[in-house]
């Protein structure tokens, strides 16, 4: 294995020449290429969705064996970007153990998340879903307390430790004044903060964010990314699926570009986000600039050629 478990929070990979199990159908296939390793390991990923998560749409492209490897370390904020259906959400569901890889290995702090007990996985990795459910009007405090469930007994009776963890999380996420409000009385941004707080209350080592900025206004988008940055600074390994390239470039320490089920590029935002690459992956011509203060790149979609022809 090319990964040392002490160093990496998440390690995905397969030894060279590993064969796909016989009779396995190519239901989905994702291939990730690492450029940071000296020797790229040739790995194939086929995964069949696990029970209870069967609806997760996987990659629909015809299967193509490619190189795969992806690792993330503690203290990193990794942005997963790419067009819809490229495999970003599939990756974080693999890490959360919600999908089982049909071939290949996934390691979450030395643990196989699809085979380990759900409780053990939930103590290591917390997932903030894209559109959190609120079927019943729980209060904010009750919802955040549910993050303690993997550390509680059968009836989830809160211990003093749970109480103090929830109180601390509410403070960090600026939810103290909303603690006794019901979820259905909150705005979209506030509700998102509640589910972020629930994930923090899990005290995970890996935080998985599925589009943390979707459906939020600019201020809440910035606040959501700020919270992700703070989590990474505190030593968590944060993986965030993002669609806003500029927001991702400004916040993330590393970007991973997915395209058609493969990792297309990987590296610092400044290296990864070039005009050619964006056009190649998203099919959109862009103008690339750089934030003079931070050096973070940003891209602006260009007008389509016919419109510019009319002007000249």
């Amino acid at each position: 294995m090319p990964f040392s478990a002490q160093e990496h929070c998440i390690a995905i990979g397969l030894p060279q020449g590993a064969a796909m199990p016989k009779g396995m159908r190519h239901r989905c296939l994702a291939t990730l290429t690492s450029r940071s390793n000296d020797e790229p390991t040739r790995v194939r990923f086929h995964w069949t969705p696990r029970r209870g998560a069967r609806s997760v749409v996987c990659i629909r492209q015809p299967p193509r064996p490619e190189c795969v490897s992806f690792t993330a370390r503690a203290g990193e904020l990794v942005g997963l970007v790419g067009p819809n259906g490229a495999g970003k959400s599939t990756l974080i569901r693999l890490v959360a153990g919600l999908l089982r890889p049909a071939a290949g290995t996934v390691r979450l702090c030395e643990l196989d998340p699809a085979a380990a007990s759900r409780r053990a996985v939930a103590r290591l990795a917390a997932l903030v879903p894209q559109e959190p459910s609120a079927a019943w009007p729980f209060t904010v405090r009750e919802a955040v307390m549910m993050g303690r469930a993997p550390r509680q007994g059968l009836l989830s009776l809160p211990s003093r430790l749970d109480q103090s963890a929830v109180a601390g999380t509410l403070e960090v996420c600026d939810l103290v004044h909303l603690a006794d409000r019901r979820l259905d009385q909150l705005s979209g941004g506030e509700r998102r903060r509640v589910f972020f707080a629930r994930a923090l209350a899990q005290e995970p080592r890996v935080l998985l964010l599925d589009e943390p900025t979707a459906f939020l206004d600019l201020a809440h988008q910035v606040a959501a990314m700020r919270m992700a940055e703070v989590a990474a600074q505190r030593g968590l390994c944060v993986l965030a699926v993002l669609h806003d390239l500029n927001l991702a470039a400004a916040s993330c320490s590393r970007l991973v570009v997915f395209s058609r089920g493969r990792i297309f590029a990987e590296g610092t935002p400044a290296d990864v986000l070039t005009a050619e690459r964006v056009r190649e992956v998203w099919g959109v011509p862009v103008w690339r600039g750089e934030d003079a203060r931070t050096g973070a790149p940003f891209v602006l979609p260009l007008r389509s050629p016919p419109a510019s022809k009319q002007v000249t």
Binding site: G52, R118, M146, A149
Partner: protein, 340 residues
């Protein structure tokens, strides 16, 4: 969860149940004196301890089981409209119980001894529990679209299964002797009758075990009510937990149907009222629904007994609960469609 609040709620529920039992023993066609009944004088003693108290206890068991099962099914389906009767779980239980009755009737006919009574309570209860579990599995298996549970689809499957079960029961009625068919009809209308002895003991065991299981599973219901993926990411083994909750809810419904036939909407009315007062935490909600559901059905049955006293008849308690529950179901359905 506030432990003091839970204690207050449990005490209030027990008080309500005790008050309901006393009230149900007091009212009826014949005025009785508690003092004379306790002193052992007939007819007061027979009316109170032989008729009214056992019937009230059956009502309490049925209400307790149905309300707890309704709360559990609502958590699983993430929808306040889920209810054993509407989802076809009661229908499955009735079908299972009927098939056992018909089979034992045929067997006794062949073997040459007569068994017209519904006295084979344990075997009927087993059939009802198996039928309820089968119906629940059917609803939760067919109520899915691309792997995700769709509450509306599941409800529709339940309603259709109810029709199917009713048709099968109608067929079964034609196959049994007329006297047994009459008993079947009366059993399934949702009437609480004057039971005693074996039936009561079997009922207490079934309801006690299944409702206790639901109370123990109530912490998991909170997570299950968030949806499969979120529950799994919070450390829950979704398949196992859901299976256990389904089994316990089916057993509770099967026991209730064995005791009183198809009493509808108790699992809708009681959890709805309890949720309004106590909030959505199932660890509070399930025991509250069990206790107040028991009190609710005891009082409903007492009302059903005396409401039409002047006409000299009494409607089955299922008619009364449907009278309240039907409109409530429609109101809840309208309200859940409204955005925000």
């Amino acid at each position: 969860m506030n432990r003091g609040r839970v204690a207050v709620m449990v005490l209030a529920g027990l008080a309500a149940l005790a008050a309901a039992l006393v009230l149900a023993c007091m009212v009826g066609a014949q005025p009785v004196s508690f003092a004379r009944a306790i002193a052992g004088q007939d007819p007061d003693r027979t009316i109170l301890f032989g008729l009214r108290l056992p019937r009230a206890l059956v009502g309490a068991l049925v209400g307790c089981a149905l309300a707890a099962a309704g709360t559990a099914l609502q958590a699983l389906l993430r929808n306040p409209l889920a209810e054993p009767f509407v989802l076809g779980v009661s229908g499955g239980a009735a079908l299972g119980g009927t098939l056992v009755l018909v089979a034992t009737g045929a067997a006794s006919h062949l073997l040459g001894f007569s068994s017209t009574a519904l006295g084979l309570a344990p075997s009927v209860a087993t059939g009802a529990v198996v039928g309820a579990a089968g119906a629940t599995l059917l609803v939760f298996a067919l109520g899915r679209e691309s792997g995700r549970l769709v509450p509306e689809a599941a409800l529709l499957v339940g309603v259709v299964f109810n029709f199917f079960a009713a048709a099968m029961i109608t067929l079964a009625k034609l196959l049994v002797p007329p006297d047994q068919a009459l008993r079947l009809i009366y059993w399934l209308t949702g009437a609480i009758s004057y039971e005693g002895g074996v039936t009561l003991v079997v009922g207490v065991l079934c309801v006690g075990v299944s409702v206790a299981a639901l109370v123990l599973l109530s912490g998991r219901m909170n997570l299950l009510s968030l949806g499969e993926e979120e529950a799994a990411s919070l450390g829950l083994h979704v398949g196992l937990s859901r299976g256990l909750v389904l089994l316990a809810a089916s057993a509770a419904t099967g026991a209730a149907v064995t005791l009183a036939g198809m009493v509808g909407f108790v699992g809708l009315i009681v959890p709805h009222a309890a949720r309004r007062v106590l909030g959505p935490d199932h660890r509070v909600l399930v025991p509250a629904a069990a206790l107040f559901g028991a009190a609710f059905l005891v009082i409903s049955d007492a009302v059903a007994r005396v409401a039409f006293l002047l006409l000299g008849t009494e409607p089955p308690v299922g008619a009364l609960t449907a009278f309240i529950g039907g409109p409530l179901f429609l109101w809840l359905m309208r309200r859940s469609r409204r955005p925000g």
